[in-house]
């Protein structure tokens, strides 16, 4: 058996979302079984199946160091306030 990751998308502009995983012996059966395991109540109408072996992993040691850099979280408030002040002073 191979393990597959299942992604579903509803009709419209929503993005694909991870729905879960499943075991199947090959790609064809994975598709057939994913339909019943994840979409039998019309949870989505498009599906991506990814063989887990093909997923490229980023582990926390490599990815997480960026979590302690608050200066990369500019939410625009300071700039917005500055521009408002300039606009009001200038009028």
């Amino acid at each position: 058996m191979r393990r597959y990751e299942v992604f579903l998308k509803k009709d419209g502009r929503d993005e694909f979302r991870h729905a879960g995983s499943l075991d199947a012996p090959d790609d064809e059966l994975a598709l057939v079984l994913a339909r019943e395991s994840y979409a039998r109540r019309a949870e989505g109408d498009r599906l991506w199946l990814v063989n887990r072996e093909h997923v490229i992993l980023g582990d926390p040691e490599f990815i997480a160091p960026n979590a302690d850099k608050p200066h990369r979280h500019n939410d625009g408030k300071a700039i917005a306030e500055h521009r408002r002040n300039v606009r009001e002073d200038g009028s």
């Binding site: 090959d26 079984l33 395991s37």
Partner: protein, 252 residues
């Protein structure tokens, strides 16, 4: 619609009974199919088949126009004595071996496709509509059965089990094509396009291609005209009536 003649009623009941029993048989794998994903898929297929049966019983109970009347449909589905059923023995026998259940699923669905095609242009509009809906579901059923056989037939132990099951089931499966009472009338009135046994060669070709099986194996068991129930039918009906017998007049 001026109402179904008793002959056409018999013809539709045979189809409904087959769909009902194959659905029931598949449901008995809920919780015990070989792996979780297959459990979900097979149960869902069972539900589809029961849906087809309900649609056909509703046409019969409504005398041509489908009714939405649980008690009348239940009465057809559960209330008849064994001798009033018109099912084929293929769907009556107990299958407690997964290879057996899978081969029956494939054989039945290969025939079912042809059977719906026979009524796809039916003069009975609700029947033609049921055929269109069923075929959308059946495409998936066939892909499911073929997908499993593609994987399992080449494996030595699995392949042997499947071929043993095939040898057991083939004579009964051919019985699906036995002419049923009322068929001539159904064809004459445009309810069906032609007798179902006109599709038998097409079905045997598919079976040969799928399983690479010796043609001599296609000798049918003695035709029953769908009047003789298999010994497994009695216990099956008891299991099917387990809930309804608690309160036959309950509305669900």
């Amino acid at each position: 619609m001026t109402g179904l003649g008793s002959a056409v009623r018999e013809f539709l009941l045979a189809f409904a009974d087959d769909e009902h029993l194959i659905g029931q048989q598949h449901t008995e794998w809920i919780g015990v199919a070989p792996f979780l994903e297959e459990d979900l898929a097979f149960s869902s297929i069972a539900q589809d088949e029961l849906g087809h049966a309900a649609a056909l019983y509703a046409i019969v109970a409504g005398d041509g126009d489908p009714v939405d009347d649980d008690l009348r449909i239940d009465d057809l589905a559960f209330g008849r004595a064994p001798e009033d059923w018109r099912s084929a023995q293929l769907v009556e026998i107990t299958s407690d071996d997964w290879a057996h259940a899978l081969v029956r699923h494939w054989l039945y669905d290969a025939a079912e496709q042809l059977r719906w095609e026979q009524v796809a242009q039916s003069s009975l509009t609700p029947l033609a509509e049921a055929a269109a809906r069923a075929e959308r579901e059946e495409q998936y059923h066939r892909r499911h059965a073929d997908g499993l056989l593609d994987v399992l037939l080449p494996v030595p132990d699995s392949g042997d089990r499947l071929r043993t099951a095939l040898a057991d089931l083939l004579p009964l499966a051919v019985g699906l094509f036995d002419p049923v009472a009322g068929e001539a009338e159904a064809v004459a009135t445009g309810v069906a396009s032609a007798p179902f046994d006109s599709r038998l060669d097409e079905w045997t070709d598919r079976v040969r291609r799928r399983f690479d099986v010796d043609p001599a194996r296609f000798l049918p068991a003695a035709p029953t005209g769908r009047l003789d129930r298999h010994p497994d039918f009695g216990p099956l009906l008891v299991r099917m009536r387990e809930v309804i017998d608690l309160d036959p007049a309950a509305i669900w």
